[in-house]
């Protein structure tokens, strides 16, 4: 006789913990940007290459988890939240790590030096973006509790306040971006034009990290609202 119970088969593999693991991995990946930028500012490209390597590895690991989650969420799975919303949130999480990889790749490839007058602001700016990703992760870490409470009551409010905090961080990051762009604008005439173009691009991309983190948060809000 088959030694298994068919009743048990109706319980699918819940993606909750894997999604949290994915976001943890994404944050580890993004957090490497801070030491990477410091190395870049100091012109220590050996160290930067090393860190860029570990960013790549972490991004790959996140990709693996993402693929695994998708494979285990076939269409016939019924969940307390919309499957589409959940997968979209996962996609956004993954894009955060991708962006970090792009930034490190571009800066290393061009050995981009950051002008001394904006380097501190730049690091501060990246730090805030990383903080946004961390805050998104904190909210995502409540996902298992949300599922446990059936998306109702005190837990929903807690996550709501976490998302509000995330929005604030993103807004601060926006302000920093405006300031940083203005400072760069002031000195751009003294710099190599090609370098300036790419510096603007890096500033954009770092801002994208905070932006994507915020979008992860709003997807999470979608899950709550339904």
């Amino acid at each position: 006789m088959a030694a298994r119970s068919y009743v048990m088969k109706i319980f699918g593999r819940a993606p909750v913990r894997r999604i949290q693991q994915h976001m943890d991995k994404v944050v580890l990946c993004v957090a490497e940007l801070e030491p990477f930028l410091k190395a870049a500012v100091e012109g220590d490209w050996d160290r930067a290459r090393e860190i860029q390597g570990s960013i790549g590895t972490l991004e790959n690991e996140a990709d693996e988890i993402k693929r695994d989650i998708r494979l285990h969420l076939p269409k016939g799975v019924f969940m307390p939240v919309s499957r589409v919303d959940l997968l979209e949130m996962l996609r956004l999480q993954d894009m955060v790590a991708n962006k970090a990889k792009d930034i490190a790749g571009l800066m290393l490839g061009r050995e981009m030096d950051v002008p001394a007058s904006i380097s501190n602001d730049m690091i501060e700016y990246a730090r805030r973006a990383i903080e946004a990703a961390r805050q998104a992760c904190t909210a995502i870490n409540e996902l298992d509790e949300l599922f446990e409470s059936g998306f109702r009551g005190a837990e929903v409010e807690l996550v709501g306040s976490m998302i509000k905090r995330l929005d604030e961080i993103e807004k601060q990051n926006d302000q920093q971006q405006i300031k940083l762009r203005a400072n760069l604008f002031e000195i751009e005439d003294d710099l190599n034009p090609v370098k300036v173009v790419f510096l603007y691009r890096i500033i954009d991309w770092v801002g994208d990290i905070a932006d994507l983190a915020q979008r992860v948060g709003s997807r999470l809000e979608y899950l709550l609202a339904r």
Binding site: M1, A2, A3, R4, S5, Y6, V7, M8, K9, I10, F11, G12, R13, A14, P15, V16, G76, V77, F78, M79, P80, V81, D144, E145, F147, E148, S149, G150, F151, R152, G153, A154, E155, V156
Partner: protein
């Protein structure tokens, strides 16, 4: 009657075989939510199943047994040829037992109840005639197969929403769990014992009045709740557990509740499903010994229920334990708070059906209850394709049981005449 002893022996052997099959496979399905939520160890689950399956069969299995025995076929039609009915019941038993064995070995989600009812109706149509079947009764039984999962689903939904409102969704879930869980335990004890007292104990000749039954059930409920409260008071908040998952301590409290609901579920399963094996045996015995006095019926069902309950326990110990172990090692997100809501909803529905004499499918009812909890956003992932497989399977099971029963019926008939 010719071959009377042969009939009796065959009936007991086939009945035991069928009961063994139910114990070997079906019990694990009924206990899946209890074992799968890890509130119980395998050893505890097997012990609970053995004791409460037996008690359920013995104390509350009489009504459904009576339905299978004499509710499906109009006995008056065959009063001049009782042998036909005897052979038919034996054929149905063997057909159902073999079909179940085959289906379980392939992991098909079939219901013991649907199999035996299909088998009996099949042989009755082919062997006696279309008019021999109590179609009105069959209609009621078949509609109960639709109603029972729906009812269990609704109860499961309501139970889980109440858990959300009272416990999980509050600012202090642990304190509220400790406060409200004894009340759920009371519900389990009160409801199961009330239905059993009102409906199940007839064959013991114990005539409680309605008021007595209510009072007794109330007493049992309160006693169990107090026992539960003592257990729960020993659970202290362990902050280390809550670090990873804030509801870990709350689930420990639900774990206590789960023990009680697991008992109720095993009891319910015993009270309904043992009849599938025992009903035809009872029919054969009462036909063979029909020369005897009517008053013998009570004593009759007494030892036959014992046989059925015993068979289930043997099957459980020989094979069911292994199935339960695989259930327990499955990785699921089924927590005790969910397991309890689904299991209690199913147990209540099944006990109610047993009291009314309706043979329903315990596992289908349990699946309905699980879906109900899922609708309340309680279960993180459900494979709907598996669910539809389970509900489709009875479309196959009814004709399969019927055809097998017809084949065995003509085989036996050819042997004997």
């Amino acid at each position: 009657m010719e071959f009377a002893t042969t009939y009796l022996v065959l009936a007991c052997v086939f009945g035991l075989f069928m009961a063994w099959g139910i114990g070997a496979n079906d019990v694990a399905n009924a206990m899946a939510t209890s074992v799968g939520s890890r509130a119980l160890t395998i050893r505890q689950a097997v012990l609970i199943a053995a004791v409460f399956e037996f008690l359920g069969a013995f104390l509350a299995g009489g009504e459904v047994t009576a339905t299978i025995r004499k509710g499906i076929i109009d006995v008056a039609v065959v009063s001049d040829k009782p042998e036909l009915l005897v052979i038919g019941m034996l054929a149905s038993l063997l057909a159902a037992a073999l079909w179940l064995l085959a289906a379980s070995s392939r992991g098909w989600p079939v219901s013991t109840t649907h199999t035996i009812v299909g088998a009996i109706v099949g042989f009755a149509i082919a062997g006696i005639g279309f008019g021999a079947v109590e179609w009105g009764r069959i209609g009621a039984i078949v509609s109960s197969w639709v109603v029972s999962p729906l009812l269990a689903g609704t109860i499961g939904f309501v139970l889980f929403v109440s858990v959300q409102r009272l416990i999980l969704g509050t600012a202090e879930p642990f304190r509220n769990a400790k406060r409200y869980v004894p009340f759920y335990i009371f519900l389990v004890g009160f409801f199961v014992s009330l239905v059993t007292l009102l409906k199940g104990l007839k064959h013991f000749g114990l005539g409680f009045t309605t008021l007595q039954s209510y009072l007794l059930a109330l007493g049992i409920g309160v006693t169990l709740a107090l026992v539960g409260k003592i257990y729960i008071s020993r659970i202290h908040l362990d902050p280390a557990l809550d670090e990873q998952f804030h509801f870990a301590n709350v689930e420990r409290v639900f774990g206590v509740l789960m023990i009680f609901t697991a008992c109720a579920m095993a009891f319910a399963h015993g009270s309904n499903d043992v009849a599938n094996a025992v009903g035809p045996v009872a029919a054969v015995i009462s036909l063979v010994t029909s020369g005897g006095a009517v008053g013998r019926e009570a004593a009759l069902s007494f030892w036959i229920l014992l046989l059925g309950g015993g068979g289930i326990v043997i099957g459980l110990l020989m094979y069911g334990t292994r199935v339960m172990t695989t259930v327990g090692s499955n990785i699921t997100e089924l927590t005790p708070s969910r397991g309890f809501a689904a299991t209690l909803a199913a147990a209540a529905t099944v006990v109610l059906a047993s009291g009314t004499g309706l043979p329903i499918s315990t596992t289908h009812t349990l699946v309905g209850a699980v879906l109900g909890v899922g609708m309340a956003r309680g279960i993180s992932a459900l494979n709907l394709s598996v669910v539809s497989n389970i509900f489709m399977s009875w479309v196959i099971t009814l004709p399969a049981g019927a055809i097998l029963a017809i084949v065995f019926f003509y085989l036996f008939k050819a042997f004997i005449t």
